[in-house]
Amino acid sequence: MTGRKRTAYLLMLPAMAWLAVFFLIPTVTLVSQSLQEGSLEEGYVLTGNVGIYAEVLRDYAPQFGRSLMYAGLATLAALIIAYPLAYTIALKAGRWKNLLLVLVVAPFFTSFLVRTLAWKIILGDDNAVVDALRFVHVLDADGRLLATPFAVICGLTYNFLPFMTLPLYASLEKLDGRLLEAANDLYASAFTAFRKVTFPLSLPGVVGGTLLTFIPAVGDYVNVEFLGTPQTSMIGNVIQSRFLTVGDYPAAAALSVILMVTIVVMVMVYVRRAGTEELV
């Protein structure tokens, strides 16, 4: 082994050790746990019970579906909100750019739980938002926002918005204004130039942002916990209760593995489709 190679391996060592301890070993444990049988009192034994996967899929299909739907809608909403925001910060904000960026990440200064609890108050039954919506008859007199899918999606959108905004900002900020001048010069109106130049060039940001939003959102359980009901529960809530409340480790582990595999497959298909590897 040459000295150079040895240095490279040495430099990789801490990361490798970290991944082994906190990713590889837990994953193996998780898979093995999903194939065990038994009970909390008598202990679990590895029996290779693959049937558990079909079982949990059948039992918790609605929660899986909701997870994908809520996360998908939240990602879409975050994209719609974050794109104009990132565009403005990157291309139009001038000297306010840094201040606005700080404001985007400002929510991180408080805890995730506290922020979600704040939404519980904002959407609460006797507060301004609900009152206003009742007044304009968007909601019935006894209609509510809290404990609805809408509240859960709102919470998800809000909590993951910075993860959408920052990658979008990063890719829009790199945009060369001279390309837009060239597009204008070549008979593209401002809107066409956006459609044909700005947006395609920001695709790496769109892909990055949607992944960073969608992946944590699918597995989230906090938002349902505070803003939803059992009727809106997502797969994260099931896993949490199986693991911590019921103590049904094999089912919880199987659900976790399914969720992980689903996300990996979806991400792979998505990245292929978006063709990011062809983008500069």
Binding site: D176, R178, L179, E181, A182, D185, L186, Y187, S189, L201
Partner: protein, 400 residues
Amino acid sequence: MRTTGSADQGDLRLVEVTKRFGPMIAVDDLTLTVPAGSFFALLGPSGCGKTTTLRMVGGLERPTQGRVHLGDVDITDRKPYQRPVNTVFQSYALFPHLDVHENVAFGLRRRGAKDVPAKVHEALAMVELADLARRKPAQLSGGQQQRVALARALVNRPQVLLLDEPLGALDLKLRRQMQLELKRIQTEVGLSFVHVTHDQEEAMTMADTIAVMNAGRVEQLGGPTELYETPATVFVANFLGQSNLLAAGVSGRSGGDLLLDVAGSRVVLPSARSRCTTDRVFVGVRPEKLHVLAAADAAGRAAVAEGHNTVSGVVTDASFVGVSTQYVVRVPWGQDLTVFAQNLRSDDRFRPGDEVVLHWAAGNAFGLDGDEDPDAGRIIDPELEPVAVPDNGAVSKSVP
């Protein structure tokens, strides 16, 4: 320049155009006509307003005052995408996410043109890039990118093609090649080209008409030969090539000639070649128009042609450049004159310290207003500055 009667149909006219950026005046009351079908160069140092002028024609800047006309149409208020004008940008500004073919097709597609692939292919063939149609811009060399940018603009057959220092990023050899290429293409397609450059050689090689710009104004407008042989201002004389400017006073007239006094020496200049109406004149002589003789040979005046002006001096520097030798000659009143002498013989060169006589035909000089700043427009390039005079009289080493 076009000779057909319809030429003025597509003339580009700037009328009293001024552009201010805050307190800074970039273009100052500029009036200019670019005849249809001509290759027109805007030449000047950086910051002279030439690029701003180009951007106002393209619609990327709006004039603070004045109008821009193309043929009979006032295009001042039109958006860039509503003008029959295309630009080859200095940075090329190729779309990185589109391949060469799609870059070139961009303008055609926006206007819903027919036969896009055929037209794109034709344009790429013209710049000899048909083979690379499916490459991305990042996979091309600088020269190839430049040609894509050219094809992308030309394919739209604009009435006026604007070129914003398109050759600036290329190395010298490629630049020369592209200059000839551009000129060929312009002749071939017959469009008006407006070419912005700070490279006087580039402007002279390609353009039919050159407007020399300085501080937002046109100093002089004319053909390359005219500008070079009879510059109107000190700025033009210094910016376009090099000039030796001798401060002189008018001491009399004789027929069509001005009799001048240059620090005691009598110098003749045809009055038709002088722009100056006062008594203070700069006599301008280009370095290649000065002949050098050894003082001993010139003493009999046998070698000095009839009607030539003479000045004696001492060689202080000699730089051998191959085809020519560049001498710096100090004349009695302390001024250093630059001389380019062709190396016609391989054994006949002067060394620093040699006493020489410089002479030039009266009709090869030009006269300028003696009240101007003699350094206006001089390009400060340390490599062109004469090196210190060596005491031992050896030929100084010039930059290879």
